[in-house]
Symmetry: C2
């Protein structure tokens, strides 16, 4: 849909993404265990809400609308009704309209899409928050919670780790079709860790993973699925992280921009933000991300862009195969060529089309509801030269975010431009 | 916010709201137990999505956008990602953008607000679905799930039935302040059942409750809270029902209306739809619904209406006290006069300002995510003379819906007009 009112990202805030293997994450062997606790979902929401307002120099009372992207707060934190929880961040937010939006791992992207609509409807300053806490339960319980993003009744039996199994199934289909092995995905994993090692907010900022390590199963990188057919097709290193964290951005109309104080960067235009959904529990072709392709097609058409215009991209790499498939769905390469992009260095920090410069879901981390917001904030920060040790040499002017939920069942593709 | 594009409700669909005491609800003593099961969340979503399209004579492929209002599908049905589930209702919905929205019991109203925004942003036909299934667990487990609408960490300890206790607390404060007893709420309850007994879709269509029965605790209408201080202030009859059900409406721009086939009624304008949130876990004054008052104030200002313009209202009566407090917040009467409105018959089917003509949440039922959609569809149906045995004698031209979540922490007030 064409935007009759210009929408920009004016700024935002992000917390470190933390979890297992992050030095600040409290667990039973952490020296602070028993004296300090990890932040709660409420604390993440409040911290980034206030941080984003501060980042653009506004009193929170100036916010016209708010959205909270979150997937399963009801399960990990016993907490729904997160819009009202966000309104508690500051007395200036009392009576502000907040809505929690959910589309599995695309919840953050849906928050941005809703914010774009709100500005079309007349809002001038919109706060879009994403947050998730997932470390309150063990991995198997968490995997059961996350399986709510699939058609639970029919998919849950696939494996105790339902989603890893669903994407192992895609890896198998992809390898069968294109005559490659899972080792072809190793450069995608290694690139993610390489980028994250330069990113102070990354979950895996201190964990290294070479292409050699990623490319073979080992004690440190085991195959872990119980489903025997799918087990060989996925290793721990192919998976995104179970992270806690939050991110928020401020969207503005032109009139909204006039109300801001001092900002940390120049505004970045949202040129298009398009959503597509596919039927839950039904995937037509395991070797394609057709729903993401549909969202991208609509976004490119709206902007009058094509894939060659994109200078930086945040792509939903919930698993290594996902990055390959989405790069193909976005037209960054042809079918079956997604693994080569990383192998050739095209998606590296200073390659032809850098993808997931901060480490992506696999190494920056994946606090589900925050991920879609983080993607947009990353592009904003790359465009404004704010990425420190992982700043691209040439600040990009045109960028793309592809935020995907479930097994490519909800997808949000956003195109961004710095003037 | 002013609407730059006109938004109308063109039609919709609703299922019966069912649960304990409804003749079609399957439970261990039902004759069909073991041979038939109650509908699932997926079935409700699909039934009303297709029903709404059929009701306005469109191919689902014409839907530009969809929203699903649902509170805790992740808990009662192990299912999130309901936008993608809705997209599975019909092949014509493949690639249609759907978003699940959540704001506790105001989730349906938030779906309508999002749909109004979508039309401002350029959509022409928007499908807004609400559905909830709550009968898969027993009452105590369900009460724990529903407590996710409160600030769980601080509120859950109030009582195993957290929300009933929160509203008993409001009843106590109200009675203390205005010098009345809980018996003053009995006419609100009796009116709800009286209306529901005329409504074939109502959960309590076959259960009767007189003002005498509602006004005193008894074996059939017990006080049930464990919290001793709050126990005397609430009876079972003061509570809304734990129901399953779905409802969907079709919102249209003027251009959208031109695409429709045969409709069952004339379109009804949404003149205003305003949302407000208050801080979760903090209520300034237990005798006021200040968040609902804030949403109403914005809606009245936008429409240029006041309370005396309203000819029919759907008011969120999650408990009997809530109807009294919201009638006051909406300006239907002064502070402390909310109970008298029902006692005097003003809110009866053919009173001065009929409220909850189909039985409201207390007797029509309260499948949480569906409630806000049902409210708007009820007003549409009253305005079009489609309410059968509970049709108002004079078809109203101006109506209001107040859909509220949590302890008055998210509120959506919608004003509707038939030209």
């Amino acid at each position: 849909m064409n935007l009759s009112r210009r929408v920009t990202i004016a700024g935002g805030a992000i917390t470190p993404f933390i979890g297992k293997f992050h030095p600040d994450f409290i667990w039973k062997k952490h020296p602070d265990f028993g004296t300090r606790e990890n932040p709660t979902l409420e604390q993440y929401i409040h911290e980034v809400a206030l941080g984003a307002c501060q980042n653009v120099g506004i009193d929170p009372a100036l916010v016209d609308r708010g959205y909270v992207g979150n997937f399963v707060g009801e399960l990990f934190s016993n907490q729904g009704h997160l819009g009202s929880m966000a309104a508690a961040a500051h007395e200036g937010l009392n009576y502000t309209p907040f809505t929690r939006v959910e589309g599995a791992c695309a919840s953050g992207g849906l928050g941005i899409a809703a914010g774009v609509d709100a500005i079309q409807a007349g809002a001038d300053i919109v706060l879009v928050i994403g947050a998730e806490v997932q470390t309150t339960r063990n991995a198997k319980e968490g995997a059961d919670f996350l399986a709510r993003a699939s058609h639970y009744e029919t998919a849950r039996g696939l494996d105790p780790f339902t989603f890893p199994a669903m994407f192992a199934r895609r890896t198998k289909a992809y390898c069968d079709k294109f005559g490659v092995t899972p080792e072809a995905l190793a450069p995608i994993v290694a690139k993610a860790y390489d980028n994250a090692n330069r990113n102070p907010n990354a979950h895996m900022r201190e964990v290294q993973m070479s292409a050699e390590q990623a490319g073979s199963a080992s004690d440190k990188n085991p195959c872990f699925l119980e489903n025997e057919e799918l087990n060989p097709w996925l290793r721990v290193g192919d998976c995104s992280q179970v992270s806690d964290g939050g991110c928020a951005i401020i969207l503005c109309s032109d009139k909204g921009l006039e109300k801001l104080g001092e900002c940390q960067g120049d505004p970045v235009d949202i040129v298009a933000c398009e959503v597509a959904c596919g039927p839950l529990g039904q995937v037509a072709d395991l070797t394609k991300m057709d729903v993401t392709a549909a969202a991208a097609s609509k976004a490119y058409a709206q902007a009058g862009w094509n894939a060659t215009d994109i200078e930086v991209a945040e792509v939903h790499d919930c698993f290594s195969i996902t990055e390959a498939l989405i790069c193909e769905a976005l037209g960054f390469c042809g079918d079956g060529e997604g693994t080569q992009l990383a192998a050739e260095g095209a998606t590296s920090l200073n390659g032809r089309i850098p993808v997931n410069t901060g480490g992506g879901l696999m190494a920056f981390g994946h606090p589900v509801g925050a991920t879609g917001i983080k993607q947009a904030f990353e592009i904003f920060r790359q465009m404004n030269g704010l990425c420190g040790d992982y700043q691209m040499e040439s600040s990009p002017a045109r960028g793309l975010c592809a935020n995907m939920g479930g097994d490519d069942r909800t997808s949000v593709v956003t195109l961004l431009q710095k003037n």
